[in-house]
């Protein structure tokens, strides 16, 4: 683009600038101020980083406040999981169990944490709000097998979700009061 280029003359350096000394002094001032400023280092294992809401950490299974496992082994998460990290073996709930009114429960529920990509689709798809990606982000183990989490470990990591839906309990109560469709 000839004609459109505007050339700007570089200002000649003054004598003080030619010696670099004023610049060096101002540089030293900057670094000195930095030295006295508060450090930005977070001392990680001692001080954990603040975890923002909605963070997608390790996927876990949760129980409801009554201690019932919320998963009904519908296997939606297994189907939706992009890396196929979830493996569910569905099973019936034995008669006489306090949770016998629930349709089903997983016999075994495995998540391979090495395959998991922490996308959160399982959480999104779960109709029972049984699987959650929680805050835990440090996972390690000494073998691949160790990082395939089974049901016990997933519940241990998940804990209890303090929701007040009690879907299945309400359904059972409705049935008992003669209202099959609620």
């Amino acid at each position: 683009m000839p004609g459109k280029v505007k050339e700007i003359e570089r200002k000649p350096l003054s004598l003080a600038e030619k010696t670099f000394l004023p610049q060096i002094v101002s540089g030293l001032k900057v670094t000195c101020a930095n030295m006295l400023r508060k450090k930005v280092t977070r001392e990680y294992p001692d001080v954990l980083p603040p975890i923002p809401p909605g963070y997608r950490g390790m996927p876990t299974l949760v129980k409801d406040p009554d201690g019932r496992e919320k998963c009904v082994s519908c296997q939606l998460c297994e189907f939706v999981c992009p890396p196929k990290a979830i493996r569910i073996t569905p099973g019936a709930i034995p008669e006489g169990s306090p949770n016998a009114h629930v349709e089903k429960a997983p016999q075994e529920f495995e998540i391979d944490m090495l395959r998991c990509i922490y996308c959160g689709m399982c959480q999104e798809v779960c109709p029972e709000e049984a699987i959650f990606l929680q805050n835990k982000f440090t996972l390690n183990g000494l073998s691949r097998q160790e990082l395939v989490f089974n049901k016990e470990r997933l519940y241990e990591a998940g804990g209890t979700l303090q929701d007040q839906h009690f879907k299945w309990k309400k359904k059972k109560e409705a049935e008992e009061h003669g209202n099959a469709q609620h």
Binding site: I24, G27, N34, K39
Partner: protein, 367 residues
């Protein structure tokens, strides 16, 4: 008697080397710490030694200061496998670290590190060899210091170390001139006509009891400081090992303890250079300018003044570190231009100026 004298001097020499080497180690830690501080980090603060680290207060303090890191680094260098690459010249490859370490340690014998006031009021400078050519000895051995770098670069038989070696020797030749010329005005000023002190550093220290050269001759001090940075291969003049364009410079092919020796010798250079600057321009072991020395008579005074000298030297070492993490590295041609086209003419002009000034202000000595 002769043997006792010799043993005492050897003992002093050994003590001096121990002090300087441990200071070199501490400087490494200080460098990492202050570099961290300047960049908003904390620097090494985790390494700890099981029993020492669990002493209630000091263990924690030392851990946080990163001093145990020194032990960890040192033992790492010591216990790593000594790899000699197949393409090097074995003899010179092994010789180079030794050649690099000796020159910064030899000039220690002519550095007056303290002063002792005797009972009758006379002041003795504490120095291992009080010769009237002290400055020459320092210049001589500092000029030998480059051989370690050059040999390492040549023996490594690969291109980046070689470039580092070449650069080091060219830089050395260029800045030694400025260094010599910026020392002369100091000695001219301190030696009144008829003096027989010659190039003794102790004499400079004695002269600076009332006034320091750093404000008597600021330009000389600046020239000397710049030349010192170049001679010690410190940033912004660390051409020989500029990581951005030469991988690791002259010690690219070195590892384990041999690299450790190069590393320590660089810091020993810095410490000796700082000590020299303190002696020539910052009054050596004298207290403060225009104040009488408060050192008590006898041994306590000697220890206090020595500690004061070490404190001043440490302050200057800190300045070296501060500069390194502030300024970007020069380009190689800029280093050469600065040395030959700016510093050298200014140094010569400064020398002539001081000569004329001294001829004007000092009364003509008795012919």
């Amino acid at each position: 008697m002769d043997w006792i004298q010799l043993a005492i001097e050897a003992g002093f020499g050994l003590a001096f080397i121990i002090v300087v080497m441990s200071m070199a180690g501490l400087t490494v830690v200080a460098e990492r710490k202050f570099c961290g501080f300047i960049q908003g980090r904390l620097g090494p603060n985790r390494t700890t030694i099981p029993i020492l680290g669990s002493i209630p207060f000091f263990g924690r303090l030392i851990t946080r200061m990163g001093l145990f890191q020194l032990v960890a680094d040192g033992s790492k260098f010591l216990f790593k496998e000594e790899i000699v690459p197949g393409h090097v010249n074995k003899f010179y490859y092994n010789l180079a670290p030794i050649v690099a370490l000796i020159p910064p340690l030899v000039p220690l014998v002519v550095l007056p590190f303290g002063q002792m006031t005797l009972a009758d009021g006379t002041i003795r400078q504490l120095i291992i060899a009080n010769v009237d050519i002290g400055m020459l000895v320092i210049l001589a051995f500092s000029s030998l210091g480059v051989y370690g770098t050059v040999l390492a670069g040549w023996a490594a038989n690969s291109k980046y170390p070689f470039m580092g070696g070449i650069r080091a020797s060219a830089q050395m030749i260029s800045y030694e001139l400025t260094m010599g010329l910026s020392i002369l005005p100091v000695f001219l000023w301190a030696n009144v006509p008829g003096s027989t002190e010659g190039l003794s550093i102790a004499n400079i220290v004695v002269f600076q009891q009332t006034h320091w050269f750093v404000y008597l001759q600021p330009l000389t001090a600046l020239l000397f400081l710049v030349a010192l940075f170049a001679e010690t291969n410190r940033a912004p003049f660390d051409m020989a090992e500029s990581e951005t364009d030469l991988v690791g410079g002259f010690h690219t092919e070195y590892g384990a303890f041999k690299f450790g020796i190069f590393f320590v010798s660089e810091y020993a250079h810095v410490i000796v250079g700082s000590g020299l600057f303190v002696l020539l321009f910052l009054g050596g072991s004298n207290f403060l300018p225009m104040l009488p020395n408060p050192w008590p008579i006898g041994i306590p005074g000697a220890i206090l003044s020595t500690l004061w000298f070490i404190a001043k030297t440490s302050a200057l070492v800190f300045f070296f570190i501060w500069i390194r993490w502030t300024l970007p590295r020069f380009r190689y041609d800029q280093v050469m231009n600065l040395g030959w086209k700016m510093l050298l003419p200014v140094a010569i002009a400064n020398l002539v100026f001081v000569m004329v000034l001294l001829a004007k202000i000092t009364p003509v000595a008795a012919q």
